[in-house]
């Protein structure tokens, strides 16, 4: 019986409290990903990130993706929590967790799920830079390629 937990929250994400949601005596692996707000993008300095969602659709899309991840990777459980509202630099904006009988399934599921979230889930981030200017991040394909390249660097 697989378990799926999805949440949007305006509060700091308590990752420790999420540990129990992937606990299962039949699993041999837990894997976690913390997406944390970064201070620098290229030569620009971010002072604050703010996230907005289409809440009901975001939850529906996250549930759809979580169910697909369970099916695709044979997971026992999965947790997806995304923060909305203001997120100070250095705090988690998204936490993913999953468990499976063997490590390879959990290792493989996290990057797949994160890529899907960045493609399909209606959540947007707005950068507030150190100079006080703000900018919504709406990546087009070419921009996605640039950001991915930078993230991989």
């Amino acid at each position: 019986m697989s378990e799926c937990y999805v949440e949007l929250t305006e509060n700091p994400i308590d990752a420790g409290a999420l540990l129990t949601k992937v606990g299962d005596p039949d699993v041999g692996a837990h894997a976690w990903f913390y997406g944390v707000t970064r201070r620098t993008t290229g030569d620009r300095v971010t002072s604050l990130l703010s996230y907005e969602a289409h809440p009901s659709m975001a939850v529906a899309e996250l549930k759809r993706l979580a169910a697909e991840a369970i099916e695709r990777f044979g997971l026992n459980s999965i947790v997806v929590v995304h923060r909305v509202g203001e997120v100070p630099v250095g705090e988690a904006s998204v936490v993913l967790g999953c468990s499976s009988a063997h490590r390879k399934s959990s290792f493989a599921a996290l990057p797949w799920l994160m890529d899907q979230i960045k493609t399909d889930v209606p959540i947007w981030k707005r950068e507030t830079y150190a100079d006080g200017t703000t900018q919504w991040v709406h990546p087009t394909e070419s921009v996605v390629d640039e950001r991915e390249a930078e993230d991989d660097a």
Partner: protein, 93 residues
């Protein structure tokens, strides 16, 4: 005179469109009411909003439409959807 009007105008209806992020900021509102024909599609919604918020035409070309919280193809008729949303390229995570 009435018979000279295109079919779509005879059956025009008002639909509320939800806006988010940069699109909402540019429009200055989180929803717009637009007039569309009863057989209007998702693509017609994008076109109509592009006329209302011309500064967002480039962004709108990259947006998707969701009916009742599900993405649809541009050719999808609005039908009886109770919620119509324009979803700009997402940037969660």
């Amino acid at each position: 005179m009435e018979n000279l009007l295109p079919e779509a105008y005879k059956t025009a209806m008002q639909r509320e469109i939800l806006l988010f992020a940069a699109l909402r900021d540019a429009a200055g509102t989180d929803s717009l009411v637009i007039d569309v024909g009863s057989d209007a599609t998702a693509a017609d919604v994008i076109c109509e909003v592009a006329q209302r918020v011309p500064s967002m035409q480039t962004l709108l070309a990259s947006c998707r439409v969701a009916l009742d919280s599900r993405y649809v193809a541009n050719t999808q008729p609005l039908g009886t959807a109770t919620e119509i949303a324009i979803i700009p390229p997402v940037s969660g995570g």
